[in-house]
Symmetry: C2
């Protein structure tokens, strides 16, 4: 993997980072690196995430999925319990992974109808074992399997902490279980049981993913000029401080679409604190050139665009057109076209002075996926150190969770907060 | 449909809009309304979009799809030629609509392998008939159908302008064609042949969608206090001017996920001009509470959150849990849970002073979908008037299109622009 930050320099972009500023920032990067290395070594809360490629419990994953050869895997989980697993299976091109990560009754019904329940492995994931959406969905899935005459206890694996309702349930029904890693927040758990079980169940090369992660671990070094992950994290931080408060993540490969969602959680929940942070915008190249590029080039100067692509990919020739005006496509391939669009978009952003960073890897395989995920986590942890925010907590989501629960069981305070809402309702004229 | 802007008022939110400011702004809304009505009456470029519910050529759609009863529809188009159609079929719950809106060779191959080509209707959409991605994909699809022994000329409909390579091709092969509406930019074309053909081919109630659009047309009125669409557009504008430069669109219903993408194009490409505009962020409730809410509540104060939901929906009870700690779910439904989460999230944003707007409609049906789409277009046009930007053009995307084309046919200037890129590449230490 390499990271090209040329188009984020002040001589190209506004906001941009002067090279002298980067040199000065590099001293702070060195100190942050020491802090991060110490945290990894001591498996401190959060920092333990960056020890995962080595610490991941592959044995537990293999044991949990042993004996299953599912046509489909249904992950029941939300947020960090779903996005990493989705990212890995999609990036590896594994078909058959579905997730129930919402509580929309219509979507739940649609999915349960579409799945071959007797050949589906249900993968329930919740660290606490109490996540309302996950437990509600699991109860619905269990019920649907019973109604279809499928013994759900034969087709369910559980990934959860040592105690809690889900751990108790697994014990009561003798279900295969996987532990959640210690000291690892959900959004940093992709290189663990949480992120890798569905891929393993579908025959994916999880060892390859972990080996890519380990290469990322080995590449951490005290200078941003020697470490792609830190180069990205440091430049994103420096641009945030200079007004690039939106970070557009734009992979030019469809199977990284879930990666952009995973990145959005990682970036938003880790860095969105104390009035700081960047809003991640999930996009897809080349498609979103036809949707968002106008804004990026000509809107407010508050955006960093992060472009990603593999240097090689399986390709497909464009058949010969029978109309003269399309002759410029003649002899080209789809891969050449998407690469031309990548470079044209990058150049068009540069011409407008919009800061952008290019992240490239040789090809999309298990190793590069693991490397990419590890490096983005390391970049995020570095950015958190530089911003001086508590990267690994998410205090601002707790109030809403308590309130939702309170509304369901009639808690007076929650009901009151919702009832007190200021309304200014605009309706059609009568 | 109604719009509740109470949580965007200055007494609740920061940034927020003082009620006195809204009163003053309403005079400008009245003048903008006159401008918009005049534009609609004269079918001026762009404004003609808001005449579409009445002007839409339903006969042409019905004629083009007559005789087809496809298992699947494959739309080959990009940007405004795909997003509207995706939005409508998803919102109506129609299964079987697929789109090729990128030129990723792997995804194209995957899709062509998954589709039953002999039962698929191919729907090629490009106003100019020269869009590189669309034409390249169509050539690939045609080739795949030939290879599968399917006569593509029997299963292809074309939506394009009066001239251009695609119109010529349609004539040469005697394909059914639909016209594109005059004076309507792609991102405003959802209530026309462009957005409605796939839904019609799959048996959707396109007349119902247009009737909802017509209700939106009838509801336009000179005051934001009497017109939901203008209330939304005016508040979004006022908040943009006060620093809410991100607009998070968060539907609490999965089948509106493509709607959020459609909205993102509408908002970004129409308003992202002259250094102004809001960055649309596409999200999904309740899922993204577990991904983005931390940032919205505690990050930079630059965000408007737009929450959408139906007031009623098909529901599903949550089966009785067998663990005591989950008893608060007892007797609830998935619908009650997602509604509790909606209200809890809204309240938690209000508690933090983050401006948010609630958009509600009775239920998700053809009429409400048409109404929602129309009202968001009208809101966007109003916001464009208030921002004084040229809402209906997208000049900043042209450079990149020319450059991509130039790279493919060896244009020296484009190649040079790309070659001149400033690089500062960070690799692993050797």
């Amino acid at each position: 993997m390499n990271v090209d930050i040329g188009n984020a320099l002040a001589r190209e972009a506004d906001p941009g980072v002067a090279e002298a500023s980067l040199e000065r920032l590099d001293e702070r990067v060195g100190r942050a690196h020491d802090r991060i290395e110490g945290g990894i070594d001591d498996r401190e809360f959060g920092y333990a995430s960056l020890a995962l490629p080595a610490d991941a419990d592959v044995e537990a994953i293999r044991a949990a999925v042993a004996g299953f050869d599912p046509a489909a895997v249904l992950t029941v989980g939300i947020g960090g319990s779903a996005l990493g697993a989705e990212t890995v299976t999609a990036a590896l091109g594994l078909e058959g992974h579905h997730t129930l990560d919402n509580v929309d009754p219509a979507e739940t019904a649609r999915l349960l109808e579409a799945l071959p329940l007797e050949e589906t492995l249900v993968n329930v994931v919740s660290r606490s074992g109490t996540t309302a959406e996950t437990l509600a969905n699991f109860l619905v899935v269990r019920d649907a399997m019973e109604a279809a005459g499928v013994d759900w206890t034969d087709r369910t694996v559980v990934t959860t902490g040592d105690s809690g309702p889900l751990a108790e349930l697994a014990e009561r029904h003798d279900l295969p279980t996987c532990p959640v890693p210690d000291g690892v927040p959900g959004r940093f758990s992709v290189l663990s049981t949480v992120g890798l079980l569905p891929a393993a169940a579908l025959g994916g090369d999880v060892e390859g993913v972990l080996s890519g992660g380990a290469a990322g671990r080995a590449a951490l070094s005290p200078s941003l000029f020697d470490c792609p992950a830190y180069a990205y994290g440091a430049v994103a931080y420096a641009l945030e401080q200079r007004g690039a408060t939106t970070n557009v993540v734009m992979p030019y490969v469809e199977s990284l679409e879930p990666f952009a969602e995973w990145f959005a959680q990682l970036w938003a929940e880790s860095l969105g604190k104390d009035g700081l942070g960047q809003t991640p915008a999930r996009t897809l190249g080349a498609t979103d050139q036809h949707s968002q590029l106008q804004l990026y080039r000509a809107g407010r100067r508050d955006t960093l665009v992060t472009l990603l692509r593999p240097r090689e990919r399986p390709d497909r020739p464009i058949p010969e057109p029978d109309a003269g005006e399309l002759s410029y496509l003649d002899g080209s391939t789809l891969g050449e076209l998407i690469d031309a669009e990548f470079e044209a978009t990058e150049a068009s952003l540069a011409v407008s002075g919009v800061p952008n960073v290019r992240i490239e890897f040789d090809r999309l395989d298990a190793e590069s996926v693991g490397r990419l995920l590890y490096d983005m986590e390391a970049a995020c942890v570095l950015a958190g150190e530089l911003l001086e925010v508590p990267t690994f907590t998410q205090p601002a989501v707790e109030w809403g969770k308590r309130a939702a629960r309170g509304m369901l069981d009639g808690d007076a305070e929650a009901a009151e907060a919702a009832a007190e809402k200021t309304t200014l309702r605009v309706r059609d004229r009568p």
